[in-house]
Amino acid sequence: MSHMKELTKGIFRENPTFIIMLGMCPTLGVTTQVFNAFGMGASVLFVLLGSNIFISALRKVIPDSIRIPAYIVVIASFVTIVEMVLHAFVPAVFNALGVYLPLIVVNCIILGRAEAFANKNTVLDSALDAVGMGIGFTLALSLIAAIREIIGNGTITLFNLSETQRFVITIPGLSESPVRVLTLAAGALLVMGYLKAFFTWNSERRAARGGRV
């Protein structure tokens, strides 16, 4: 597979959220605002890139019998570095992401890509896979968050560091009488279900036409 395909496969064809169905907990939990989706997506992208590069570089050193604990140590280290750096230099983003930041350690996308891709491929391909999967995850989160926030709250929060540092687009009509259930946990499952159905239908339609799934 060409390097470009390694990069783009995670964005559409093997999107981690809608096709591979990994990382569902943060997907459902953090998508209440578009800004949270950006922050979570960027954090996952950084950790995924770092862990994929390290695990790929060490793939011939790490014995099979201890690969999972070794991967967890590498991933947890990167997550802790992200936490400390954000807390020190961008405390507003650190506060905004809250509990979801440490939970990146157990995000299935990161361990899944380490196990399924990085420990079998070169450093370059693993880095491209991480970038593609990270972008795909960020786009998926942003799409779900946009639907939930627009319909459930009548707003689009693009930037939200504090009450004085925020950029929120208010949608007339919807902001006065939003469908509040979409901001709740049930709404996350509903939106995820409809989007999954749409992407499955689209994949099958393309396959029936003889195109690539």
Binding site: L58, V61, I62, A70, V73, S77
Partner: protein, 181 residues
């Protein structure tokens, strides 16, 4: 046996490198984190002081009140700021709340929390904490549940956070009343 030792050494080496890397990053970031925490605390105390002069920090009750700061209007004691700890949905919530001597809430602000963005994290917003302002004194009880609010829908999906915040503010109010004038 040799194989086990080799595997153990590799895992040890990975852990050691990670620990050294984390220690280096911690060495760089720790002073900034400490400074940020002090700034956040000072800003929160200023924000809830209601224009009164802050006195010396005093010890709390050893339970959910971490420390107390007397508020003065000139030389006269006007109230107290309490740093309160409570439990939310995502873990501990630390907040500062100021009270008049009769237990009435002057102002309050969340200083740190791990609540869900968009739901429990709304407690960081000024409109959220404004729901408690002016309450807690004689004949003006603080809300015990979201059903006591004029519009309970504003805390929809975050009942646990609201219960934690309101119980902390109520206990702070009772504590200030117990201090007397």
């Amino acid at each position: 046996m040799k194989q086990y030792l080799k595997v153990a050494f590799i895992l040890f080496a990975i852990c050691a490198v990670s620990a050294i890397l984390l220690a280096a990053v911690n060495q760089i970031t720790a002073p900034y984190i400490e400074y940020n925490t002090m700034q956040t605390t000072a800003a929160a105390l200023d924000a809830v002081s209601g224009g009164y002069t802050q006195g010396e920090h005093l010890e709390g009750n050893g339970d959910n009140i971490n420390y107390i700061v007397p508020l003065y209007d000139g030389d006269e004691l006007a109230g107290y700021i309490l740093e309160l700890s409570t439990s939310g949905y995502g873990g501990e919530i630390v907040m500062a709340a100021s009270y008049r001597l009769d237990g009435t809430v002057i102002s309050s602000k969340v200083m740190s929390d791990d609540e869900t963005p968009g739901l429990g994290k709304n407690a960081e917003e000024s409109w959220y904490m404004a729901m408690f302002e002016g309450l807690g004194g004689e004949g003006r009880p603080l809300p015990e549940s979201k059903n006591d609010l004029a519009d309970p829908s504003v805390v929809s999906g975050a009942s646990v956070t609201f219960a934690g915040v309101s119980s902390a503010i109520r206990s702070g109010s009772e504590y200030v009343k117990s201090l007397g004038r």
